[in-house]
Symmetry: C2
Subunit: 351 residues, 2 copies
Amino acid sequence: MDVGRTVRRSPHAGQKEHRMKEIRLASRPVGWPTAETFEIAETATPEPGPGQVLIRNIYMSVDPYMRGRMNDVKSYMPPFQVGAPLDGGAVGEVVASNAEAVPVGAHVVHNLGWREFAVSDAERVRVVDPAAAPTLSAYLGLLGMTGLTAYAGLLDIARFREGETVFVSGAAGAVGSVVGQIARLRGAKRVIGSAGSAEKTRHLTEDLGFDAAFNYKDAPVREQLKAAAPDGVDVYFDNVGGDHLEAAISVMNKYGRIAMCGAIAQYNDTAPPAAPRNLASTIGKEINLRGFLVGNHSHRMPDFIAEVGGWLRAGKITARETVVEGLENAPEAFLGLLRGENTGKMVVKVG
Amino acid sequence: MDVGRTVRRSPHAGQKEHRMKEIRLASRPVGWPTAETFEIAETATPEPGPGQVLIRNIYMSVDPYMRGRMNDVKSYMPPFQVGAPLDGGAVGEVVASNAEAVPVGAHVVHNLGWREFAVSDAERVRVVDPAAAPTLSAYLGLLGMTGLTAYAGLLDIARFREGETVFVSGAAGAVGSVVGQIARLRGAKRVIGSAGSAEKTRHLTEDLGFDAAFNYKDAPVREQLKAAAPDGVDVYFDNVGGDHLEAAISVMNKYGRIAMCGAIAQYNDTAPPAAPRNLASTIGKEINLRGFLVGNHSHRMPDFIAEVGGWLRAGKITARETVVEGLENAPEAFLGLLRGENTGKMVVKVG
């Protein structure tokens, strides 16, 4: 049978069961995830119940925070369960619907990635307009969770103001590349980014309009940042932690703000990470460090879509993506993300 | 001549010059200050110019932040100069005045301690009422800079709210002892303090109304704090840094706030300090860490005096002081402060 747009079926109706693929957590990694961490499995495509929709996933997101969910520790999101499918941001097309508000054919963003098909309560999906984005995958990046993370983190958490100098680490990544561009478009005095290759730093200055960028592998971050920020830094958007955070504190101006968004440098560490040894200097500088999660900032989605969507239509903001083809390659895409192989948002084309 | 209340003299008038003692920075310490750091010197008592007053110091303050000013590094206050007198909070009596608003006989708080007499612009002194405080020295502690630090840090920086659990380190010190009492009087669910001796922790629970206190020398801070705060901590007031800060982050509840006020554990370190290795967990908990200085909170002085002064008159708040007699013993008082020998505010009775 066709699993296209007009599915009306039931496992109890004696029809041949439709099958789909999903990626499961096979075992909890210690340190870096490996091939043993994941398994690809075939399972019955689920049926939408009352108020639910069946979604054919088109793109799925891989994000650094997923590494944390592979550990069996209490955190802000429940850990992934061994033997169960992973989940995370995805965008797809509704192929069966028991909810009027989300009809068959609608494109939706939802949180059940890592699988070919997903059933979700219609209330838990967000309908998006494919015509308003260069590709549907933009709703996982520039116009999605990572873009909103950049927007809320820079403007609400770090309270960036026109005329200030901004430093962002992981600047060629999904969040960092948007942070830098919003800062530029909102009138930053100077935007500085760090990344892990010469190709990425070139991308930052030549394509994204950063004023300065450096490769953190070339020399100590503190030295390179000091050279790139002769007048200091007012806002630091931290995707990395460790030596980057210490360096940012050391060059930070009085009343500086730090949005602590991620610490990818240490997600796979088994020992405690290097920590900023100069944290006490935040007293005299009266620096504010704030950890944040995008989940508490969904009320900003309308402002974000209006402003960033406007820049996108006007060609003022760009978002490179790194697209990996095929659900079966999602684990490798995730590992590549942790190794920093992506430029911009890393997504997997599921189907 | 009498340097009492009616001085009208000039060094050019051929009178015998009046002499006074002051403590100077003899050399910059590396690590802990020693006897070589200080020298006591005799000098001419200065003359008040137009708009100035001559003050006879009665009490002077020794505070941890003074250690930082002994280093020749750019910071939020200029470093002390070798060969010049130290300075800092003091309270005294005006003995000569060229300013109507601050007459002879007024008691004033000002910033020229470490000397027997001081000349200050009248605009830079604060007139206080000796009758409104148990002792004049209270204007250096409970009703002074350290009290305001506690008040602004707890209420404005950490945004403490009724029903929350508060942890304060250095809790038997000048700032910490006030933080804990304000939290209690403002309706904290639980107030926990750490200090460096059994006598101090007993003082916290028996005299100051803390719900729990522990001696950080007895066992790892993280273990003791966890036991003392079974429901976690909402607000941490940090006077210590290092392992205390790491422990506080580890037990902190979601949306916790940390007021970073001091880091006395490391002021004399010559090597980089142990740093909180769990700073990345502030992301998921969405913790806010704010460094602050009391200097930016003087607008809160009226609220502070009204509220804390009211508690003082009602006998609801207390402030033990450690008083060292004699200007010549001020260096030793300062060293004792760094060693944690004080309970409550450490002051020196100058004359």
